[in-house]
């Protein structure tokens, strides 16, 4: 009975996965440097930041919203974390501060959208500027850098051979998958995005849900800031410019619909990996960065076009 349903819900991520595998196949034919364990781990590691932000973005997009502020929140959370470390806070506390600041910014987004009834686009557009300004203010515009070995391990260390950051990313995805597929909250996210009015009239706590969604999105941007700061050994107030667009792209390539109600974190992970593999492959091949931008754009448009085609055929 559930086979059909299962096929429908997994076909999309698998379809995207097929694109990823094919892309990898082509690149590995063209260059011997791609299909090596170190390089694949390298790609995974490079994907972590976008992928972690994109999880939150996927939640937001499924709920029929958008979050433009993640890049700025990332910068703000990063400098708060960095300053906490410089102030001598213990590592876990400093990380908590960074993630906490991100979550707080996200919660403010949520409150503006629910209580203030602002469209998500406007609320997060405002937050985009506020968080960026806050990051610049907090640092006087200068990067905050130089941290201890243990903090740098987060992004650069390895568990066995797997980079710690990649493990973190996989944990985040496993958790998000579980939340979206197996919890009440996850069901609510789809219901709110699919039909907010119907969800409300069915007793779904729509407001609380949205606040939680934007809060998580901000928190995940904060988590991405931890990885980025550790990776660069520096927190820049101008970090994360246009990261929101990368995250939206990953979610959309992965099958999330900006109309809401549709999307999956597995799809998003594959979407983020496609972007990472494309950039890595084009670098290995020595293709100009201008061409790379064209490619990413083509992939986004093609993914969405195909998705629409797929849905039409099904009808």
């Amino acid at each position: 009975m559930n086979l059909r349903r299962a096929i429908i819900s997994y076909a999309r991520p698998f379809g995207t996965l097929a694109v990823l595998v094919a892309l990898g196949g082509i690149i590995s034919v063209l260059t011997p440097y791609f299909l090596t364990v170190p390089n694949l781990l390298n790609v995974a590691q490079q994907t972590v930041i976008n992928a972690v932000i994109a999880v939150g973005m996927t939640l937001v997009i499924i709920s029929a919203g958008i979050d433009l502020s993640v890049g700025s929140i990332l910068a703000f959370a990063g400098v708060v974390l960095a300053q906490a470390l410089h102030a001598g806070w213990p590592l876990p506390l400093a990380i908590l501060a960074g993630v906490g600041v991100g979550t707080a910014c996200g919660l403010v987004n949520g409150l503006l959208i629910t209580m203030g009834r602002l469209p998500p686009f406007i609320a997060t557009l405002g937050m985009m500027s506020v968080a960026r300004g806050a990051a610049l203010l907090a640092t006087g515009g200068r990067p905050v850098s130089g941290f201890g070995e243990s903090f740098r391990w987060l992004a650069n260390g390895r568990l066995a051979t797997v980079p710690a950051a990649v493990v973190l990313m996989l944990l985040v995805y496993a958790a998000a998958y579980f939340v979206l597929r197996r919890t009440k909250f996850g069901r609510y996210v789809y219901a709110v995005g699919g039909n907010e009015e119907a969800a409300l009239l069915s007793g779904v706590p729509v407001g609380i849900c949205k606040i939680a969604i934007y809060g998580s999105c901000g928190g995940l941007a904060g988590l991405a800031a931890v990885v980025l700061t550790s990776r660069l050994n520096s927190a820049q107030p101008i970090a994360g410019l246009s990261y929101e667009l990368d995250a939206i792209a990953a979610a959309v390539i992965g099958g999330a619909s900006l109309m809401g109600g549709e999307g999956s974190v597995l799809g998003t992970l594959v979407g983020a990996l496609i972007m990472g593999v494309l950039r890595n492959g084009l670098n290995l091949l020595g293709v100009s960065s201008f061409v790379q931008q064209v490619f990413i754009g083509v992939v986004i448009i093609a993914a969405v076009l195909l998705d629409m085609l797929f849905k039409q055929r099904k009808r």
């Binding site: 076909a11 379809g15 097929a18 694109v19 094919a22 892309l23 082509i26 690149i27 063209l30 260059t31 440097y33 090596t36 170190p38 390089n39 390298n42 590691q45 490079q46 930041i49 006087g140 515009g141 200068r142 990067p143 850098s145 130089g146 740098r152 650069n156 980025l228 990776r231 660069l232 050994n233 520096s234 820049q236 101008i238 970090a239 410019l241 246009s242 950039r279 890595n280 492959g281 084009l282 670098n283 290995l284 091949l285 020595g286 293709v287 100009s288 960065s289 201008f290 061409v291 931008q293 490619f295 083509v298 992939v299 093609a302 195909l306 998705d307 085609l309 797929f310 055929r313």
Partner: protein, 311 residues
């Protein structure tokens, strides 16, 4: 299932494109040493010049040069990714113009670990940071930014008769290049108390910000009669703001980098001067040293590329 077919169609298209772009480089690389050059961005004429110089040098020496850059000059994370990818590509030497003087350190460590020599060009690496992290670079090739800043300052002192109300457009705060230029500039002004800096604000190396920040400064300080910008892009933005305010030639503008457009502005009189770095030369020297390192030579810690004032 239809979607699978259409997907593969798109992928096929991608194959075509990638193959078209990639084949040339991949094929011609056989047997010859490959050098990677990572600049800050390729939409800044300065780095386009550097790329040109490097490519000419590479061609004459028979090495393969891969030039890559982030879309945005400030995107340190993206630059890091590109450098990582080139390390995976196993280039023989990596030449980098760092987007961030501290943020580049982890990349240098990775290259060190992979046994790839790193040549830094244009922007210095934060020395303390590099040392504490235990990283090492083969050499730094660059203009003496401090010296350039001093040249600009001295020029303005002469030009303004030791008396002026000055505005300064800074690069990205905390950026070594910007800091060095400004240090040199202020040093040159120090003996002249009548040379008053009334406003000094960052315009982040960008032309449109140069325009906006200059416009704002003119609002706040209408008596400004000289302006120094730590890069030509910012200076050119400023000259447009100055022209819009009808003050062309009334404000003496000095820039830095001597890109083509700035040289023209100097000829037109919209700018009084610009400090000429020689990015073409810088690129060429970078590639030259890369080959010499491959030949077993050890470069000096710093290779200076001459600097001069164009007026």
């Amino acid at each position: 299932m239809n979607s699978f077919f259409s997907r593969f169609f798109v992928v096929a298209l991608a194959i075509g494109l990638i193959a078209g772009c990639g084949r040339r480089v991949a094929d011609s690389g056989a047997g010859r040493p490959v050098v990677g050059l990572v600049v800050k961005t390729l939409n800044n004429p300065f780095f386009i010049d550097m790329e040109r110089g490097a490519e000419e040098a590479a061609r004459s020496r028979g090495i393969v040069l891969l030039v890559q850059a982030a879309e945005r000059e400030v995107d340190v994370e993206r630059q890091m990714q590109i450098a990582e990818n080139l390390i995976q590509r196993k280039v023989s030497v990596l030449i980098i113009a760092p987007s961030g003087s501290r943020e580049i350190v982890p990349v240098i460590l990775k290259a060190n670990r992979a046994g790839i020599p790193v040549i830094i060009v244009d922007t210095r690496v934060d020395a303390a940071e590099l040392e504490s992290a235990g990283g090492r670079i083969a050499t730094f090739i660059g203009s003496d930014n401090y010296e350039g800043g001093r040249l600009a300052g001295q020029f303005l002192v002469e030009r303004m008769g030791s008396r002026a109300r000055l505005a300064v457009l800074e690069g990205i705060p905390g950026h070594e290049t910007s800091d060095a230029r400004l240090r040199g500039f202020r040093e040159a002004l120090a003996p002249y108390p009548e040379m008053m800096v009334v406003a000094s604000q960052p315009a982040n190396w960008e032309r449109d910000q140069g325009y906006n920040v200059c416009q704002n400064i003119l609002q706040a300080h209408p008596d400004v009669n000289a302006l120094f910008a730590a890069s030509d892009l910012m200076a050119l933005g400023a000259t447009e703001a100055i022209a819009a305010a009808g003050l062309t030639r009334k404000i003496t503008v000095v820039g830095f980098d001597a890109i083509d457009e700035a040289r023209q502005a100097v000829r037109r009189g919209a700018m009084a001067g610009t400090v000429a770095q020689n990015p073409v030369r810088m690129g060429a020297v970078g590639v030259e040293w890369a080959t010499r390192i491959l030949g077993g030579e050890t470069p000096p810690p710093t290779v200076a590329v001459p600097i001069e004032l164009v007026k």
